[in-house]
């Protein structure tokens, strides 16, 4: 298992006030994402546990694009990965952000 953590500063906090959400399932090619509104409003942290090692750069790029797009300020995002492809990760992250905005 490989652990990765990325910390970003955002321009804005994520809209909405929902304290917590979870989406996705840990399964082959899939992942679960737990989002918690526990950080300062200009901070986002993404922590990943993955069984597939050596994809740090890909994760970094996926997370950076997500942060730029969603501006998820205030969120601690925890990912249990089951070997998901980057596009699936992006999709789940966006799904998670939308749940928190609800």
């Amino acid at each position: 298992m490989e652990s990765l953590t990325f910390r970003h500063t955002t321009k804005t906090p994520l809209a909405g006030s929902k304290p917590q959400a979870i989406t996705g399932v840990v399964a082959s090619g899939n992942l679960e994402i737990l989002l918690e509104r526990v950080l300062p409003p200009d901070t986002c942290e993404v922590a990943i546990e993955t069984p597939v090692s050596g994809y740090g750069q890909v994760w970094e790029a996926v997370v950076a694009d997500f942060v730029a797009r969603a501006q998820p300020g205030g969120l601690r995002i925890s990912i249990n990965d089951g070997g998901a492809r980057p596009d699936t990760v992006s999709l789940r992250l966006l799904q998670g952000a939308r749940l928190m905005e609800a």
Partner: protein, 548 residues
């Protein structure tokens, strides 16, 4: 004085030798090997019928049991290398040379045997190309074919899976060859005559019905959100954009998703009757909802599909059927239809390089092409206009007199940026080139050459290669939809934004598509069972696709 009838005499002699094992034309299954031992001669060109669907498997087994001392050095000219026996004959020396088109499940063994020198390869063809050579320089001496039933005169009913049979028989019989057919049963009267009896020399009553692979069945339950998103983009960004009515689909999940989105997403976009009305396509079970809701007017098929026969029989306005009611398929004609009468081919591939060349070959597998390159190529012999064809032509034309402009076939590669096990679809260099070097192929097994490809669709967006004006445009357009693969991450971000401004790259948001809307609830059917319901119980899926 020249003997103008040498081949004819030789054919008569073969048939005479075979008669010892037959009653009239009928040969019991147990005598099949003896029949082949008698009829075949060393070095013969033999066509053993089998493609990506039906297989003359009883005759394949019989051939593999021939005596290599008597039957050896054969030159196999056949569509598919699919059954283990197809390669066994090369191990025993019964066969020596090979010209073929498709090898799905045996791809890895083919590569190994090519590398080991057990097979002397002519070429890996496309279907039409191989069929064409049957009439020029690869005419079979003996053809071993498969049908559903025959009468004692040899009149052959191929059933819904007619496929390659008429082409093989045409080439073999009319040029002094011997045709041996395996059938599931001998009957007094066949339901319809697909091949007249005078073209069939022997009929072997097979011990088991011939095998057919349900290659075109895609279980909607396995369709992912990413595939649905790509399908939505294709429908809105290509089908609707060009008004594509006449087309061919590949066999992957992406095109199956399109089929299942037509009655839902396509309906919502108001596209019914405007797109996807006429197909050169096998009877995909996932096409059922689109047929039932009136989207699809006509389908011509290469072959049939396991479980679809009753459904087809009840939908003669859509499919080509015989007087007996069952489907009449024909691979050569349907490939021709796909090449000349369709405005678009859309399908998947395993690898795409920076120029847009694509291949399904990996370092250890020679999968062959089947028909994709026929459908997925721009036919320079086409002379009839249509709106999509002309629009694509205009987009691609850079210089020259507009009055002399001709159209372009839309050739769309629809891929996810990563495949199974996080293997990237986009690569700097195709594995096919490595493989060609390793096993000494003169021509690398490229499925679709870059100059034929007009669009690439991924979950990240659509790249319109027609609008690219130089090599840099093209490379960055491809990188710009290559997602998080190394190729994608290596993009020039500024250039990609420029391409987006020029409409060469279009993102989901540029098409008005919200990726989070790509949900399985959009599928007209979410399971095989749903397809059965759509068909009114007429579709009878094979056991392995059932969960009831």
């Amino acid at each position: 004085m020249a003997d103008w009838r040498g081949e004819r005499k030789a054919r008569d002699a073969r048939i005479e030798a075979g008669r010892a094992h037959a009653q009239g034309k009928v040969v019991p299954a147990g005598e099949a090997t003896a029949l082949l031992d008698a009829v075949l001669k060393p070095g013969d060109r033999v066509c053993l019928e089998g493609d990506n669907q039906k297989q003359a498997d009883c005759l394949a087994r019989a051939l593999s049991q021939c005596d290599p001392a008597r039957v050896h050095g054969l030159h196999m000219v056949q569509s598919g290398i699919v059954l283990p026996e197809h390669l066994d004959v090369f191990e025993t020396g019964i066969a020596e040379r090979l010209d073929y088109s498709y090898s799905g499940p045996q791809g890895a063994r083919v590569a190994k045997m090519l590398y080991g020198g057990q097979i002397k390869l002519g070429a890996v063809h496309t279907y039409l190309e191989l069929f064409a050579r049957y009439f020029i320089d690869l005419t079979p001496h003996v053809a071993l074919i498969a049908g559903v039933s025959a009468d004692r005169e040899g009149n052959l009913y191929t059933g819904p899976n007619t496929e390659d049979t008429p082409t093989i028989v045409e080439a073999t019989h009319f040029k002094n060859g011997v045709v041996i057919a395996q059938v599931n049963e001998i009957v007094d009267k066949v339901p319809r005559v697909d091949i007249p009896g005078d073209r069939i020399d022997f009929v072997v009553e097979a011990d088991t019905p011939f095998f057919v692979e349900p290659l075109f069945t895609r279980d909607p339950a396995a369709m992912t959100e990413t595939q649905i998103l790509i399908a939505m983009m294709a429908i809105k960004g290509i089908y609707a954009e060009y008004g594509v009515r006449r087309l061919n689909h590949g066999i992957g999940f992406g095109t199956a998703a399109i089929e299942l989105l037509l009655p839902t997403y396509g309906e919502k976009l108001g596209l019914k009757g405007e797109i996807a009305t006429h197909f050169a396509l096998n009877p995909h079970p996932t096409l059922i909802p689109a047929i039932e809701s009136g989207w699809v007017r006509q389908v011509h098929c290469f072959g049939s599909e396991v479980g679809m026969d009753r459904y087809i029989r009840e939908r003669p306005d859509v499919f080509f059927t015989g007087a007996d009611g069952s489907l009449r398929s024909n691979r050569a004609l349907c490939q021709t239809a796909g090449l000349y009468a369709c405005d678009m081919f859309i399908g998947a591939t395993l690898q795409i390089d920076l120029m847009g060349h694509s291949s399904t070959v990996t370092q250890s597998r020679v999968a062959g092409f089947g028909g994709a390159p026929n459908m997925g190529s721009d036919p320079h012999g086409r002379r009839h206009p249509s709106d999509p064809w002309m629009k694509a032509g205009r987009e691609g034309q850079v210089v020259g007199d507009p009055a002399l402009m001709r159209g372009r076939k839309l050739v769309v590669q629809m891929v996810e940026t990563f495949g199974e096990k996080l293997v990237p679809t986009f690569v700097e260099r195709l594995d096919a080139l490595e493989l060609a070097k390793k096993i000494g192929l003169e021509l690398a097994p490229v499925m679709i050459y870059a100059d034929d490809v007009t669009h690439i669709v991924t979950e990240e967006g659509i790249a319109n290669l027609l609008l690219c004006r130089d090599a840099d445009d093209r490379e960055q357009a491809i990188r710009g939809v290559a997602g998080y693969t190394e190729v994608g991450r290596g993009r020039d971000r500024a250039k990609v934004e420029e391409l987006r401004a020029r409409g060469i790259i279009r993102r989901p948001e540029d098409l008005g598509i919200e990726p989070l809307d790509a949900d399985r609830s959009l599928l007209a059917a979410r399971s095989i069972k749903d397809l059965v319901h759509w068909s009114g119980g007429l579709y009878e899926p094979p056991a392995r696709f059932r969960n009831w």
